[in-house]
Every structure is written in C-alpha cells, then in structure tokens.
Symmetry: C2
Subunit: 434 residues, 2 copies
C-alpha cells in the first residue's frame, strides 16, 4: 500500500485534531482511496505540553524548517495561523515543490495571489477547504460540484462565534455584552474577539468564496464589513416579532455584471432554511444559473470539524500524488480581471429601519415622506405605544427594495429631523427563497 | 485548449438539459479547468422532435452504438433510464474503455456491482453524482469531502415527488389522492407514480449511499421500504400539532456494528433543519465521527439541476483525462463484506402511534399497559374529545425509544384489543439534532 507522508506545522488545537483524525481513520481512508495517510513529522515550538496523543519518539520537533526540508514529508499542513511566520512556512514548502494544506483564511485573503503564483511556479498546489465553513466541504462543492454553474449569488453564515452570540441573545433575551462575556468563558469567543465579531473573519472567507466563484482576486479590502457589535437585543426582538432573525451574513452577488461583496448583520426569515442555522453552526447558500439554490451546512469551526476538512484535502493531494497529477484542479483561475465591485447605486435590498422618535403628531407622515422623497416604498410600519407621555417611541419600518445610496440618503435626512431622538438603526433584509 | 468530447445517449428532458448546459457554460468551465467540454454526438431514437436547441447538422443520430464506437467521443453520458437497454449501453461503453456518466439510480442499485467491476476490468470509470439528490453535490461530499469520517448516520429526503406531495398536503390541508392528481397534472408526478410514492426510488438512492459510506454492496433488496400512500392528512395534522412534519425519510445508520437501512414516512421536528426542507427540494443529512453533523440541500430532480450534476461529473472525468489519471477515485471500494443488516431487535427509535378506540372507560389504561408490557415507555398521550357519544376517539401516543420488534408486538396486541376500532397507525420519529 502506498503511503502519503504528512508533516504538520502547528500542534495546537487543530493540529492535534488532524493528527488524531489521521491516526483514528487512516486504515479506513486507505481502504477507500488505496493510499494510506501517515503522520511523518510534527513541528511546534512547544514540544513539551501533553496533547493526550501517543506519538512515536522523535516525531514531534521544534524546527519547522527541518520538517519542510525532510524528504520523508510529502505534504505540509500549515496550522500556525496569522500572516507572518505562516506565510514563510507556506512559501518555503511551495518553493521546495511540496503541496500545502492550510486552514488559514486570513493568509489566503491577505496574500493568496502571491502564494498561488508561487505554487504554480513550483508546479505544486495549495488546498484550503478548512479555510471556509470549517468541516463543511463547501469549497469542494463550489469548485467542483457546481463547476457547470455561473454563480448568481452566495449567502453565508460563516462565523461560529457570531452565530453563537446572536443565537444566545435571541434565546436568552440577553444583551450583546453579557453573551460575549459568556461566550469567552465557554471558549466560543477569543479574549480579543474583534476578528470574529467585527466581521473580518467572515470577510476573509467571503473574499475567498467570491474569488473562487468569479475568477477575480478579491481581498479583504474589497469587502464592505459591518460586525455584530451594534446588534441590540431590542432589534433582535423586534425582528423576531416581524418573523425574522438577525444573522451576520456574507452576501456575494452578481449585480448588473458587477459584484456585491459585503458582510453585515441582516434579517432573514425564520422560515427560511438559513434562518434555522443556529449556534456555532455555519451554512453557505449558493445559487447557480443551472442548479438553482443549494445549501451546505455543518460545524464552522472547532478542532474536529476543521480536522475533517484538512484531512479531506490531504487525501485529495494523496490521490494527486498516487496518480502523478499534481495541480489537477486549478486553484484560483483568474479569467475576469476587469470585474468591478457594485456601487451603492447598484446594490439593492429591502431594509429594516428602527427610528426612535419624539411622541409628537405628524412624525410618522414626515418620516414616510422622507422615504418617499428618496423613491423608497414602505412595505410595513409598526409604531408602538409610548411608555409614557412625551417620551420617545420606536417606529419600525420595513421597506421595499431600494438602493443602498437611497436608503443612506433617507437615513441621513431622518437623522437630522428634529423628532428623531436617536440615530436610526438600519439592517438589510435578505429574502432567501426557502 | 484541450477539448473533452461528450457523447449523450438519450435526448429527453435531462439529455437536452445537459446539452444546453454544456453549450451555455462551456467557456466558463474551460476557464476554470483548462479543458473545454464539447458535445460531440447525441443519440436518440427520436431524431425529429424539436428540443429547442440549435445543433450542428449530423450531431444527433439514432444509433447509440455508433456513438459509443465513435473515436471522437471521449465519454458516454447514459440518460436513457431503466435497467435493460441502459445496462447494455453502459456495459458497451465500459468495454471500450470509455468512462460513463449516468443519473440512473435504478441501474446502479440493480446491477452496480457488475458495472463497476466491468469499469475496473477495462481500466475506466463510472460517475454518478446525479443519481442521488439531483443537483446537490452530495455524492462528492460523501466520497471526498467527508473521506476522513466514519459515517455514523445519514438521513435523506431524496424524492422530490414525495416531498412535494407531503408539503402540499400539509399546506393545503388536502388528502393524498387529490394532491397526487394535482402533482401529476403539474408534471411533478409520473402517470404511474409507484416508483416514487411507494419509496423505491428513495430506496435505490439509499442503497447507493449506504454502499458508498460503508464499503459493502447494498441493493434494493436490503432496504426496508414503506411509501407515502398510507400517510393521511389526519396524521399530518396531528403530527403538526405535536410540532412535527411527516417526511419520506431514508435512514441509514450504524447500529451495533450493523446497518439500519430503511425508507419510511417519519416524523421530524419542525424546528429541525431537515424539517424545513419543503416542496420538490431534497436534503441529505450526514453525521460523521469527526465532522459531526452536516447537511446538503438543493433541487433533487428536474432538467436543470440534474444537468448541473451530470456536467460536474463530466468535468471531473475531463480532468482525469487531461492529467491521464483514469480511475483516480475508487468508486465503490468494498472493504466490509461481512457487514450485516441490523435486525428488528437492534433498530430503535421513538414512535408516533395513533389508535382509534371506542369511547369506553379503561381503554387508555389498557393501551398504556400493552406498551408497558413490551417495555415501551410513553412520552406523551393526547386523547381527543369524542365527536359524539359512543363514537371512536383518536388516541395519540409518542413513545420513548423502543426496538422495532417491541413496537410491532405492541401494535399486534393493540390491533386485537376489542376497543380498537381501526388498525393502529405508527410512524417512527427521528430526532435529528437541529
């Protein structure tokens, strides 16, 4: 039986998961593919901590370069994270013609083009299933399963931390800060949670998905990002009454032959399939011109789920080695360099708007008038009874489809209205077919 | 640019869809994969009917054997259906060393072993993504994306016709016969609907999935099949009141190192993701020992969706040809020949039981006693007010987990109870994690 010899750099949570997965299911994979995955080397600066895995003596070393240079290593798994030393390790492996598997979305979105060019030059390749959607084989679905399709739109819940926080806020009727704290204690959020909750992690993933779907390099800079810090329990509850949930949604969509690429809290119907994706789970919805709507669902992070995706990549590369077909699947073929981002005049959606207004006569008419003057139709209005005389009252409006520029202009005007007590809150509504 | 020359046998609905898809998106696929798919030949007995597709003269012929023998044909797509002439075409193509793409689940479940052996002998291969789940790339997910996993369970809504009928029955509060008739008129059900509604189509797909997951050849004979004819509006409505929907569910599950393989109407929670799969859509839920739960969703049938899957297979084979790596992925590696089917004593689930009983004192206690005497705990009971004096009353019981033999013995005893007015109705409840 042929063996495929794996070198793992980074023996942290995911690294240990990958090693454990290979050890547990190597013979099953060998039976399925006719080639046996073997952990040949592991490199980590920390060679002392017990990861609870029995390793042959000498397998774990501290010098990653030694692993990369080891002729007994067929493939390098980069699980260091970040964009500095990881970039060096990946580059060095590629320069030696060794294929690389990585789960590092930040690295790919930051310097993916450089790395994939380097892989091409050295006649080798990078696999990256675990970089988006954790254990969900959604990169494979997009690159291979849906290859016959022009992608018309993708919608993703791609960050487990955010979805966990939003789900708990809704279920427990608790505010953002208290749930964030609880999530940090439970290990579902980092001590410094910004990458997750400010939307950058999702944006990196959205850039990767858009690049794959549209044959154009998109980076983090191309993504309009808005995180979940500004999602309040108040809006979660109002949205719920109206039949919606608020999700941190990546929206990647062809609009007038340009691309809308944004990450933002958005309302999705509770009845939609994606509206049912709760807790740490992720989902990617893909609309193709041939296949119609499809969705892929699973654990978006965590040791085991991420390992499942990393090892699937390893086995794909094992087949490429077994059949002497490196670079079988072009990674990011660029065929639409001129593709541009859609402007605010081109991006349309429906909107949820909450305006806290003074309890005065004529305010509703004036607000509705502002929307009308910007060409925005109101689909529904809910105005609550004031809690007491003279106090502010919330006015909820769901609009019909409008451009982003129109809604921004309307909100600006509303902000300046003397009856507006607090800055208006606005989230897009994504009407996904269910 | 390399070309991959496709021969399509069967120019019906799906055949025309495949041809149209290749024509529409060939250049996009060529940009993505570096090899261009081209329709080289089409064979159909009917060369006259206008399919609305502009074809070069002479491309459409009536003699499928001429297509198979044509050296200009790199791959044969079998879209004839059935298990007789399709079997011959597929065999003949394989004998000539030509790879085959098929959407024919009946053929694979009927004589798959013979065909895959033939492919192996002739150093070629069969791809069959469209045979399960229509456009959903779920075969790829199972064979490749989840290769690192032992599959612990799969649950599938795999027949669009059944799901369409059950969804409409629930939404319109209509009975089975009237919706079946409407589905036939709308083209969502065949004139002879037995293959779909009696569960055999789903069972073929379940056999394919089980074979792929467990390294053992399962055929239709191994699947316990129960269709949806016996699903009444009454039970759909009672289930709904209790928070469930009735779906025709394929259940494939490892139980005590054996395999449970059945297709049956089952109750799933409305809150579960799979409970939200409605209309003609399909979904496959896969639990892996590493990845945890995943789900794949999309259109399970129809011209366009099926084409998407067929063309994805074609492009996989195109890469195999381009890189001279035929039989890259072993199709059905058999590594557990001794694997047995679970017995009724080993298969467990919760159950929904409806008993129409005479409105007499002591009946509830007696029924509960029967369950108890078979070791079955009752989770909840709902007994309705009778419509009038002395008439029958429905008694609904949801059980705790029990073996299939226990529930069958209990139902036998209940059937013979003097108070039982109609044969008791029983469906399994599948508690899928949401």
């Amino acid at each position: 039986m042929n063996k495929f010899k794996i070198g793992v750099i980074g023996f942290g949570t995911v690294g240990a998961g990958v090693v454990e997965t290979v050890m547990k299911n190597a013979s099953l994979m060998a039976q399925r593919y006719g080639i046996e995955p073997v952990i040949a080397r592991i490199a980590d600066l920390d060679t002392k901590t017990d990861r609870g895995i029995q390793l042959p003596k000498g397998l774990l070393i501290s010098d990653a370069m030694k692993l990369i240079d080891d002729p007994e290593v067929d493939v390098v798994v980069e699980l260091v994270g970040g964009t500095t030393i990881a970039r060096k390790f990946v580059s060095d492996a590629l320069k030696r013609g060794k294929p690389v598997v990585t789960a590092n979305k930040a690295l790919l979105a930051f310097c993916g083009k450089e790395l994939f060019d380097l892989a091409e030059t050295n006649r080798t390749e990078i696999y990256f299933e675990a970089s988006v959607g954790g254990g969900i084989p959604c990169i494979k679905a997009l690159r291979e399963g849906l290859v016959a399709n022009q992608v018309t739109a993708m919608y993703g819940i791609l960050n487990g931390t955010c979805n966990y926080i939003l789900t708990r806020m809704e279920n427990e009727k608790a505010d953002f800060d208290s749930i964030l704290k609880a999530a940090q204690q439970a290990g579902y959020a980092e001590a410094n949670p910004s990458t997750d909750i400010d939307g950058y992690d999702t944006a990196n993933k959205a850039a990767i998905l858009a690049s794959l779907a549209y044959g154009h390099w998109f980076t983090l800079d191309d993504v309009t990002v808005r995180g979940i810090r500004e999602v309040t329990l108040t809006d979660i509850e109002y949205a719920s009454e109206l039949g919606y949930r608020i999700k941190l949604l990546a929206t990647i969509r062809k609009v007038a032959d340009k691309i809308q690429l944004c990450v933002q809290p958005a309302l999705v119907s509770k009845k939609s399939l994606i509206g049912g994706v709760s807790g740490v789970f992720n989902a990617l919805w893909v609309d193709g011109d041939i296949v119609g709507s499809t969705m892929y669902y699973g654990r978006g992070a965590g040791r085991a789920a991420t390992s499942s995706a990393v090892v699937a990549d390893l086995m794909d590369l094992a087949l490429n080695r077994l059949h002497n077909s490196p670079r079988r699947l072009p990674a990011f073929p660029i065929y639409d360099e001129a593709l541009a981002l859609a402007t605010k005049d081109e991006i349309r959606s429906r909107y949820y708007v909450r305006i806290e207004v003074a309890n005065q006569p004529g305010v509703l008419g004036r607000m509705a008038g502002i929307f009308g003057s910007h060409g925005i139709s109101i689909a529904s209005v809910t105005q609550r009874e004031p809690a007491g005389a003279g106090v502010k009252v919330p006015m909820l409006m769901l609009t019909e489809s409008a451009t982003q520029s129109a809604i921004e202009s309307a909100l600006n005007e509303i902000r300046q209205d003397p009856a507006t007590v607090e800055p208006p809150i606005c989230f897009a509504i994504e009407d996904l077919p269910a």
